[in-house]
Amino acid sequence: LVGTKVPINLRDSTGDKMPTFDSEQEKLEFIFTCKGKGLSPDQMARGSDLLFIRSQDLLAVYHQKGSGRVLSAWEALQAFGVDLLYEAVVDGSAILVSTKEEPARTIARRRKDLGLSNADIAKYTRLSLEDIHNLEDPKRRNPIQHLEIMARCLGLDERRIGFKPGSGGDNQLAIRLRNLKSSSSHFTPGTVMKFNEAAWTIATQYRLTSWLNAGEKPFWETNFEADNTYGDASYPAWQRGYYLAGQTRRILGIGHDEPILNLRELCNKKLEIPLLQMPLSKDIAGATLANNDDRGIVVNILGSNNNVWIRRSTIAHELGHLLWDPEQNLNRLKVDHYEDFDRDPEYFLRSHDFVEMRANAFSAELLAPRDASVEEFKRTDLRHVMEKFGVSFSIARYQVWNGLKRVIHWDSLVVDDILATDDWVGRESFTVDYFRPESVPTSRKGLFAFLVVKSESANLISEDTAINYLGCSATEYHQYKDLIFDIFQ
């Protein structure tokens, strides 16, 4: 170390001028080593075998080592942009965190905004109290897996954790959840975190769909416009609900007397609305949830919804909210309780809850239009109305009774059996009851899982991300990914 002179012969110092890589295109061509091939940025990233690895603080090129999250070139580019990838490639790694206080500050703030304690999170996530404490300590480098778990239960975008202050969390949703928790003892911290996980799943499903569809907007967004009419004395909200159900059938090309055989698939595939079926607290039937611009439906599989005919009316009710209610009436999260579904319209009239009155009428008319229900009833009986349209006893009863202008005695409308038939159960509950691997959380079974597998096959996400999104083991993923793909394809 002693000495000040350089004891090496100098090489020629007139070498090529260093390129400056001013344009994004040049940087991308350098990152993906495809100079002169005339590829678009999307083509370069989608076709690249280059993998990155991210930790809490760094993004680096992946070389078969490291305990962080392995990312495909596409997902790294989407999450962090060209400059950061370029830096990671040139320098070997790039600093991800936006400030030294991140991600600890965002996590602590979000947890407090939601009114959650460390113990609440420990109980829900099975992270230890020490792990959770560490995540809020800006002096710690935490495992990315812990950060991702935390991000999901707080409703944050796990890709942006540390990278962007706030990590893409919807502040209005956080306030709404905290208020719901404060106003009801039934709305537990666990329920708050379940809705946050649902918000994460919905946002992720939209992102994957958009990547696979090259950015096209979902069907429901381009074909439905919020309707601000909730009626008046001469044109009550329930009547508007019937009208909107008819409109919905027309837009979807469903005949006036045609049953909707698979509402789950209609939501997921035709309307392209994320539909999450998951266990919630037993008083909740379902909810319509908005995470920033991403709207989805959450349906409880416990309680009365255990009967898929009742679950279908819950889904249809939430569809009424999602497709037709303006944002100010949804307030980020509209939670519906079982007890409200069987209420007479008079109850909502008294309580001035025209939003619910309209959604209830919409649900019944969408699934079992009155005229068609009456027709079927006259031809057969009430049970056959239920079987034809896949609706609960109470919906069939209301539709027939109202369709017949209430001339028939209410108590005369009875059935011996209110249970759904096997064909309806098979169609509507398929993803919940038969999905493999079982370890995948219920809310991520179904179309979400298919999109994950498809995105991995298309090189849009890494296998590591796919396994993480599904919450299963690598072995299970390898064993079942073809099956998931085939079933939903």
């Binding site: 170390l1 809490q56 760094l58 680096a60 991140e102 800006p138």
Partner: protein, 163 residues
Amino acid sequence: LNIFRQKYPAREPNLERLKNNSELILLTEHNGLRLLAVAPMSNIELGLAPLDQSDRNGVNKYLWVIMTSHVPMVMEFEKTISDLGLERATHTNLTGGAPAHCAGELWFKDEATIWFSGGSSRYRPESSGQLTDVVASFKSCGYRVISFGWDEGADQPARFYRG
């Protein structure tokens, strides 16, 4: 340092991402190249370690390389290197592309205290153990070393100081 050199033999630089040959130009003392001496080090620019993404280079970053007989260092954004057509120095500008034992970055807090990282795409420490050993080597030369440490997730030297 000799103990370190024996334990971690000199290796060729990783040139997978060489942009062009100017990254192999060997800098001279006219371009600000110096040899690191035992602490305290005189005539150096005091600096500040990086804090985050927007401040990823900190202030007055030096690159260092442990070569077989000496430890050259240079400020990454030394003004005179632009004469050579370089935007900034790289570790191979300290070696001319010759084999070296290890490389990284440092910032002088004072003449005997350095913030220290193993950040290098060409000769970076290959394990946390190697980083620990190179830190110990610098300490044995009289420096108080504030090491950024090892990032287990990325399996790379950390690029800023959290502790």
